[in-house]
Symmetry: C2
Subunit: 348 residues, 2 copies
DNA sequence: TAGACGCATGAATACGTATTCAATTCTACA
DNA sequence: TGTAGAATTGAATACGTATTCATGCGTCTA
């Protein structure tokens, strides 16, 4: 045997500090022992564990989660696909998601898909990063895309979309039912000339809310008097849509807005540009019940999406799917409720 | 023996689809060839690359980034430590950060540190996940913590903190200068009785803004008449602070608020509860220039933090530090500017 | 006291990739 | 046509960890 054994003087490992091998050497044990000292259920004597931990402290060793992920085939990372960061509803969602996931031992990897085609970019990336699961908001999967995740056995939950393809888990607020609630709220209080301001036309949430609203109107023998579209869920677009709507010859006496931000914009335009009083001259109903809807200058009556329940359910579904791969598809629909405040006139 | 040896017929790799070895086998080449086919600069003939890609398509193979990260010692993941998700300023920051990082080929791993001690949780996790770099907002590193990152050669940039310890990169808006601008704005327009409403007392941004404001007042022979503290940057706390401030016996004629949200709350309280006119009866200056500050019902005059420049600079610094480890510490201060709107009375 | 059994341990291996190294083929030029 | 040099290739190795397997040891029971 030609000894020499590739000397490689003090290589000291380039970047990630020290490894379990370094710790093992210093502690006078095997690398396996070091690994076991960090593995909860493993079989290690208190003595070697103590030796290991002493060496760990001396070297400032930290486990390399990437290496662990490679062998365990689990990263403890959840991918979160998101498109509307600055909208209050989604900002709160993001906050809740990251917090709740952390409490369950997961970290959140963000995929921003605001630009047009970025979903096609994000999904492969999520797969390549071996995320343990994926939450998709404001987007839908093609069946081909769903297949790819199925093949990788990576569970996906669609958040606030309801396009039952029988392939992807779904957790959504019942926007359709929410639209119906808005209709009832306005009809029960005696309004006659109803309008709807749409948000993003392509989004299924917007569509479901509108369908529910119109359907309920028809059921009760009414029909929609006026319709405007903001185009997206921004304040600015909402404000412009409100202007187009309210400056018509015969304006509505009540308007249901696709979300709270549009509703707030509508109230602002009505009050500051038209000097209308709310709710005396115009009733407004929103959707979401974001925190600012409760501000004293809005006091918005709105359809409440049950925030925490939506997020918790989504994570429940995802975690369960991670634990039991191949189980059947879960579809959960969460009911909204109506939060009564001061933006609807009661003139029965 | 009773056991049937648990045959495990076609193991087929449990989770992550197929590997380069599978591709190699199918294409009739070596695993190294497959790797090279995916490595931009590598030496592969067009012929083998074609064979590889054909096999890739057939198997639906995707590179495992985790494995790659292990050998390359680089994950292309940036950690982002964040505390205030729902505050408009930080919601926009998050949006910009994820977008800009993606454009440079990085993905964002979120560390939510809203609970008290979670920074101590997040930092080790970031190190264990081998992030290529870390951006920390609304928090500061202890020198011990900074040392840990230095040892791991993981660059850290503190965002909007200015605590020069000579150890961590820093990118910040000049909040001190911003406070001075607010003072000048109010004094130049002839206000006499000035007040300040603080945000989160412990935050360095709040402190710097106040020190700048007070310092400039003193320089010009004035002093602060009244001070209130919201306690944090929420609308609710701001509203309550405004109430305490404005219901005093001799209220101010102008108030500088630690951020736009507090300023908006102040305006709302003044108008809806006290029937004051703004700016005739009370002038208000905010800080940040978030989009909603421009809404027609606020038209808030405010100190603008140069949003895009802050984010871009932060990423520039981080990327440069990743490319040149061991280089000297970078500290970049970005100047704010004043956005004039309608919430300040001009009575010179 | 012998045997059975559980616990601790280290050597070896696997995870999926990039990269070094040596060997081979190809190209071009004289 | 021969050869230097470039281009291509596969075998081997490394990255840092978890885990299997066989072994050694001590303890308990009969």
């Amino acid at each position: 045997m030609t000894s020499t054994k590739t000397p490689h003087p003090s290589r000291k490992s380039a970047r990630s500090g020290s490894s379990q091998i370094d710790v093992a050497r210093l502690a006078g044990v095997s690398q396996a022992a070091v690994s076991r000292a960090f593995t909860p259920g493993a079989s290690v004597s208190d003595e070697t564990r103590a030796k290991v931990m002493a060496a760990v402290d001396e070297l400032g060793y930290r486990p390399n989660v990437i290496a662990r992920s490679l062998v365990q085939k689990s990263t403890n990372i959840i991918g979160l696909v998101l498109r509307r960061f600055t909208t209050p509803f989604y900002a709160h969602m993001l906050q809740k998601f990251t917090r709740a996931l952390q409490e369950r031992g997961y970290w959140t990897l963000i995929f921003n898909i605001e630009q047009g085609d970025e979903l096609d970019n994000a999904l492969p990336a999520a797969l390549q990063y071996q995320v343990d699961g994926l939450i998709i908001t404001s987007a839908t999967l093609s069946s081909h895309q769903a297949d790819e995740f199925a093949r990788a056995e990576t569970p996906v939950v669609l958040f606030n979309r309801y396009v039952s393809d029988g392939h992807t888990h779904l957790v959504s607020c019942d926007h359709y039912e929410g639209g119906r609630m808005a209709a009832d709220a306005l009809l029960d209080t005696g309004h006659q000339r109803l309008a709807y301001i749409a948000g993003e036309e392509e989004s299924s949430t917007n569509r479901d809310r509108e369908i529910g609203f119109l359907g309920r109107l028809k059921e009760r023998g009414y029909e929609l008097a006026l319709r405007e579209s903001a185009g997206d869920y921004s304040y600015k677009k909402g404000y412009a849509a409100a202007q187009r709507l309210l400056e018509r010859a015969s304006p509505p006496d009540a308007v249901f807005c696709a979300d709270d931000v549009i509703a707030m914009a509508t109230m602002d335009f009505a009050r500051y540009k038209l000097n209308l009083n709310i709710p005396e001259d115009l009733s407004v109903v929103g959707f979401d019940d974001i925190p600012s809807a409760a501000r004293p200058n809005y006091e918005l009556t709105t359809v409440r999406q049950p925030f925490n329940r939506l997020v918790d359910s989504t994570i429940d579904v995802l975690v369960e799917a991670i634990g039991a791969p191949g189980a059947s598809v879960i579809e959960k629909k969460v009911s909204p409720s109506l939060t009564w405040r001061q933006s609807v006139r009661k003139n029965d």
